[in-house]
Amino acid sequence: MPEDALSTPILRGEGGRVDEQFETVEQQQTTAVTGLWVFLGTEVMFFGGLFLAFLVYRLVYPQAFIEGTEHQNVLIGTINTIVITTSSLAMRLAVRAAQLGQRWRLRGFLVIAINLGVLFLVLKGVEYYQHYEESLIPGHAFKFPEPFAAQAQMYWILYFVATGLHGLHLLVGIGVLSVMFFFAMLDKFGPEYYTPVEVSANYWHFVDIVWTFLFPVLYLLRW
């Protein structure tokens, strides 16, 4: 730190929770929220490239993709959709609890959100195991009724890449939420400081939104 007192920012409010580059706590908060949204713009394009690839091959191989879709377990898919939506709701209620300073509710909702996220991954794992049983993992062991084997494999590659990347995002989200839970146990958050909870909630909702599109695209386009 420079000894030049004037170039050191004055720490305002909240016991020094404003970082040196900011003027006010509002500025810091809106900056964090903006930052996450800008990052989500990148994420949208990342998944967008994947959706584009899927769309192109869906267009080129309509029949094979439909036959591929028919091997999906729509029941688990639907349950998972409900699970992740509920998790999203719990996370938003956690933010609300933080806003209102309800410490125990905040912790409780965080636990619910994290556990539902884990449940989603477990169900996804069950699905993956079913695919493995049916020899639907692309590669040398891939088996699919002719004549669509080669084309349906394309569907399965894109399916595994898409759900795999989504699962990875979910895993990261579970990590972030766990950190939030840890801080919530330390009582770091309150009505005047809950930006991290809100930012992680927004990320969590984004993971939900990706699934909102993946589910119909991968499971439901059957005609």
Binding site: P2, S7, D19, T30, V38, L52, V60, P138, A150, L158
Partner: protein, 539 residues
């Protein structure tokens, strides 16, 4: 920028020791763990210089090999690995981060009147990711090499190349995160960290271009990331995504690739335009003519630049109707560029023109950019592109933009802001000589390549028909002059760090906000938060 109406707080003079960002802390740790955007900018300058050196050596060997029609300096395989190395290093490790990561990093917060970027630790992380990914890429390119060209066209890159395709792509994937995080930082900073009174239409033009550039980085890089990821998956897992023998469509890869790589050209050129828009007002004592048009045209370039990627694919088997859409969009790009050039030209009108080195670089930028941009028109014209694409015409065209444009302005910005960044002046005479050498050497090197392309010499040729030899020899000879023009600044800038004359806060008499603080600037840029009341560079 504009004026500091009433500097809130204290004058620049401080009692006691003159503290600035360079002498506030010492030691290697104070650099490697700094969160100061100005120091991180220097970290980038050092690593970018290394990357540029490597890429330039590859370029030199390529020109040497093309001296004769038979490939006798290197083997065919070696030649392919050289141009891939040149392309990959220059594009991803030098040109994309060049001006944004260095001068953008250093001056964006200062021009906004901010104390630092919005996420300083993220900024440092970006640099570490860049170094890690860059080292990875260089290792893959040097130990083993890659022979696919920087474009990684499938199915060559997936099935037929037996070189380090996967490690290289992974490295580029990693470097991409650095780009994205830097862009995110710039965008959020521009939105949230502006000084009081600094409205959007009072922003310096450099900030406008950096903002537009960041937007492109943010929205294009992830598409490259997913394309490379799919390519890696395909190669490692031996499944077909872009491979026709397994049911894939290689053109889809080209679509995804160029959706990133065409806007990438605007990532390179827009910041250079921003620097020109700062240098010209400083050395003519005139605000840029038609400020709003120039500012908005940066955005126009960024947006329309996204809609033209298909002009790389006119002969690729793309639908001819899609080609027509992409062609008309490409012409629109030319209009936005034209607005900028004409407005710059009329900024000189009745100005007070001071021909110092930075202005020389800016002038050579305009010259080379006009030539590069106008030849872009030929490539946007469908039938002309059929003949000229994938020939040396394209090579010359994009080198005029990337080297003549971006690299010239990287050096121009280096000279313009050197006093502010280091507190010392560079020697004027060798600097002017270097600028002239660069301009002459550049034209000697790349103008013959336009002719070669019009004659029909395809790119990436290790050996070529003897009819093309004359022009190749000219080009290779020009490259020698060009190399001198690069080595010279390197020498005298280093020299000036120790022996250069001390620069005051504002050696150019510029109105820019960055010149209103001391040289070098203090740790948090300003003694007091400036208040802005006017457009940049207005009297």
């Amino acid at each position: 920028m504009a004026t500091i109406a009433q500097p809130v707080g204290q004058p620049i003079e401080q009692p006691g020791r003159f503290t600035h960002y360079l002498n506030s802390e010492y030691g290697i740790r104070s650099w490697l763990f700094t969160t100061d955007h100005k120091r991180i900018a220097w970290l980038y300058v050092i690593t970018l210089t290394l990357a540029f050196g490597l890429g330039a050596i590859a370029a030199g060997l390529i020109r040497l090999a093309l001296f004769t029609p038979q490939g006798d300096v290197v083997t065919a395989q070696g030649y392919d690995e050289l141009f891939t190395m040149h392309g990959v290093i220059m594009v991803w490790l030098f040109l994309i981060p060049s001006i944004p990561a260095t001068f953008g990093n250093f001056f964006l917060p200062i021009m906004l009147g901010a104390r630092d970027l919005a996420f300083p630790r993220l900024n440092l992380l970006s640099w570490y990711i860049y170094v890690f990914g860059g080292a990875w890429v260089v290792a893959a390119l040097v130990y083993g090499g890659v022979d696919t060209g920087w474009t990684f066209y499938t199915p060559y890159s997936t099935e037929y190349s037996h070189t380090n395709v996967v490690p290289t792509e992974m490295g580029i994937f990693i470097v991409g995160f650095s780009t994205i995080l830097t862009a995110l930082n710039f965008i959020v900073t521009t939105h949230r960290m502006r000084a009081p009174g600094l409205t959007w239409f009072r922003l310096p033009l450099f900030v406008w271009t950096i903002y537009a550039t960041s937007l492109i980085m943010l929205l294009a890089t992830p598409v490259l990331a997913i394309a490379l990821l799919l390519l890696v998956i395909q190669r490692v897992w031996t499944v077909g995504i872009f491979d026709p023998s397994l049911g894939g469509d290689p053109l889809l890869f080209q679509h995804l690739f160029w959706f990133y790589s065409h806007p990438a050209v605007y990532i390179m050129i827009l910041p250079a335009m921003g620097v020109v828009s700062e240098i010209i007002p400083s050395f003519t004592r005139r605000p840029v003519f038609g400020y709003k048009a120039v500012a908005i045209s940066s955005f126009g370039l960024a947006i329309v630049g996204f809609l033209v990627w298909g002009h790389h694919m006119f002969t690729s088997g793309q639908s001819i109707y899609a080609s027509m859409i992409f062609s008309v969009m490409s012409f629109l790009v030319a209009i936005f560029s034209a607005i900028k050039v004409f407005n710059w030209t009329f900024t000189f009108f009745r100005g007070s023109v001071w021909l110092q080195t930075p202005l020389l670089y800016a002038l050579s930028f305009i010259g080379l950019f006009v030539m590069g941009g106008l030849t872009g028109l030929y490539l946007a014209t469908l039938p002309l592109d059929v003949h000229l694409t994938d020939t040396y015409f394209v090579i010359a065209h994009f080198h005029y933009i990337m080297v003549g444009g971006t690299l010239s302005m990287y050096l121009g910005a280096m000279h313009y802001w050197w006093p502010k960044m280091t507190g010392r002046m560079y020697p004027e005479l060798p600097a002017k000589l270097a600028a002239l050498l660069l301009f002459a050497g550049f034209n000697l090197t790349f103008f013959p390549q336009y002719v070669l392309g019009a004659l029909g010499m395809p790119r990436r040729y290790w050996s070529y028909d003897p009819v093309y030899q004359v022009w190749n020899v000219l080009s290779s000879a020009g490259a020698t002059v060009l190399a001198l023009g690069y080595i010279l600044p390197f020498v005298y800038l280093l020299w000036s760090l120790k022996y250069g004359e001390k620069a005051g806060p504002n050696p150019w008499g510029s109105k820019g906000l960055e010149w209103q603080t001391s040289s070098p600037p203090p740790r948090f840029n300003f003694r007091a938060t400036p208040v802005i009341t006017q457009r940049p560079h207005t009297q």
